[in-house]
Every structure is written in structure tokens, then in C-alpha cells.
Amino acid sequence: MNDSALRRIGEDDTPRITIELTNRCNLHCDYCVRDDDALHRSPAHFFPLDLLRRIVTEAREVCGVNYVSFTGGEPALHPQFGEILAMVEAEGLQCGFVTNGWFFDRAQSAVLRHRAAVRVVAFSLDGATAESHDRWRGEGSFARVMRALAQCHFHGVPFIVKAGIRRDTSPQLEQIALLAARMGASALHFSHLMPTSQTVETELALTFAERQRAEQEIAILGRILKMPVGVAVGYYNVDPAPPCSALSGASCNVDYRGRLTLCCNLAGYRGAANEPDVIADLTREDFASAYARLRDLAGEQVARRRAALSAQTQDEGKVDLYAGSPCLFCLQSFGKLPWRAAIARSASPAPQTVSSATGE
């Protein structure tokens, strides 16, 4: 599948930084990439406003970052959410955030007060009906997120919908797209499931052929709807060029502990054996020196994938899913899928150790 058929989304070259505002979440989506202890049992970390200001201003100086994307955990749980948006606006930056929508009524007044700074709100949707969405996100979640979409729509706040491609959602792609379009979303971003255990992979992930059919369906939806529809970078793509903003040098992530990491997809990964994607503790180190090491890591990862693609093409003539999907390749080569360790061994970078100011 090439880019002309399938719209690649969320990957423009605007320099951006993703920041996890908190580790905690009010919902319990079983498939979630984030470590379950961090989400629900560890002490709550709420990203300190001063550190946030320091990091975004340094990131702007070092690599021209002018867009901040907030995630979590659930970012709307941050008790200073309004002050964070105010800071973004005062710094002349723009931001967006991805949310489960449960607490949107709390976040909404801040969004409306600082709407000049909020480029987009992304709402996660796990199906086109209450039954399918609430299966993962708990009773009442669908109604809450639909209310949040309506509030954005009628207040003129641009919003997009993010939906996972899994065994349960793949029969609903069109319904999800129609729902998002009718509710006024400015785009729909699908993403393939990132597997967090063998059980999740077996029960929820699509086979190679099913993924391709889902990607074709999404490409069709993208052609027939006015609303842009696309798939995030995890789709099958054997081009050896950097597949995403993190690997091309246009983005990076800061986790809820203030550590600079390669990408929000890999951060705090549930069940991970390793964290070679964690570069530095920004509570102790300035952004510039840490960012230089991050670029090295990204360069090494691009080279590693290029080598894997070339080896598989030569040996077998066909690239398997775990090399063809850039995100699966990262997960495997960064030790996030320990149950696949035997297959991954040949692709692993040396682990790095980073100490954290919180001593965790």
C-alpha cells in the first residue's frame, strides 16, 4: 500500500514535543500501552508547570518546537490544566491533547479561555456504539465522549477522533468514520493496535492480511469522505526512509517523570523488558545535550530498520509484519515485546540506563 492510496496522518514536519501530563488515568482500557501500575497504582505524578515551561522554551530554542501535544495517562486529570494552557498561550506556542473525554466538562472552560493556543483536541473512540466503546472504557464513557464532541462542535473548537484498529473495531471502520464525520470531527486518525502481551496480540491484533484489508477500507473511506481519514505510522510500509516525525527528527516525547524519550508510543510501555528509548532525565539535564543523544538514537534506529528490511528482502524476498510495520519494529527492537524476545534478539540495541530524580 503506498501513500497515495493511504493517507499518512499526524506526521507533518512541524517540530513538536509530546508531554505526558500525568501517569494516572481514570479508565482501565485493557489493551492500553501504558504500564498498569503507573496508570492505577503508583503515586500520581502531575507534570510540574515550571519544568514544563523550561522544557518547551528550551525545545523551541534547540529545535524550533512550536507545537506541544499533551498526553498521559489522562491529561485532563492534571489539576493545573488551565494554567498549562495559559502558559502555552503566553509562550506563543500551540498545543493539542488526546483525551478519553470523561472529564472534558472540567477541561472545557480552560480550552475555551485559551482557544487561541489549542489547535486541536483528539478524542479516543473504541467503537461507533456505546456497547463497543464502553466494553473497553467503562459504562458511561461513550455518552461522555459524545457530549464532549458536541461541546467542541458547537463551541467551534477543532477536534479529531482517534480510533484503534483491532479485531473488535475492524468491522466498524465505516461506522466510526461516519460517526466522526457527522459529529463534526476535522479528521479521523486510525492506528493499529500496539500489542502489550501475547494474549492481547492473539485476541485483538489483526493478521497481516486483515490489516491490509483494514488499510484498504480506510483508504477508501479517505477518498469518499471530505473529512481526512488516515492511519498512523504503524501501517505496513517497507520504505527504509524515516517513517515518522520521531525518527526523522521532528518530534520527541517527555514522559510524566520528566524523562526525554523517543516517542510517546514506546514510553512507559506495559510489560516492557527494557527502556533504551529513554534518553535523559530533564529534571537534571538541559534539553539541548539530551536532544543530541536522542537524534543519535533515532539515526541508529533508522539504520537498524534499513538493515532489517534489506536482509529480509534478500533472504526471503518478503518483509514480515514486524519489520514492515515501523512501530512493531520499534517495539520489538526496543525490548517492549518480551514474549517475542527470541525473534527480536537479532534486532536489539544495547540497553541504556537512566537514573531518575524521583529515584524510581
Binding site: A128, A130, L149, Q151, L179
Partner: protein
Amino acid sequence: MTNLSLPKPHAHVIVTDFDDGEGVLIDVQARRYYQLNETALLIWRGLEQNQPLPQIISQLTASYEVSAEQAAESVRRLLAALEDHKLIGALRQ
């Protein structure tokens, strides 16, 4: 329409209200929005709470300068529109 048998909102219809007292119905099955003005929202809330017609009418007459007849007519018109759009159960004649 008898006092005791006002239809119930359908489960696939979600309501949200705005600070100005107005609201929106989201029909997630038909994937459509419907805007409600203040009185329509008040009537909808009454239907949600299974209030009898006289209670809804007295709320309308207490909140707005309308007679009981005008309020009853507003309710009747709104119910017909809601039924028409399949947002509530069928009206009993």
C-alpha cells in the same frame, strides 16, 4: 396524550447542555445533532425524569411568562417533532 403516558427518550439519544441554558441532542444511531432551546431542554429533562405532563407544564409556566395552554401546546409540538425524528418512543393518542 394522557397525563400519565409521556413517551421516554430513546437510549441512543444523548443530551448535553450549554452554559446559556440551551442544549443539544445527539442521536448516535442516526449520527445527528438536534439543537434544543431552553424550553425544549426543560421539557426533555422532564421526559428523562419521567415527569407527568402537568408537572412539566407547571415548570414551564413558573419559568416563563406563558399560560398553561401555551405551555401544553409547546409540549405537544415538541413531542411531535421528537417522535418524528425517532428521538422518543411513540406517542399514545
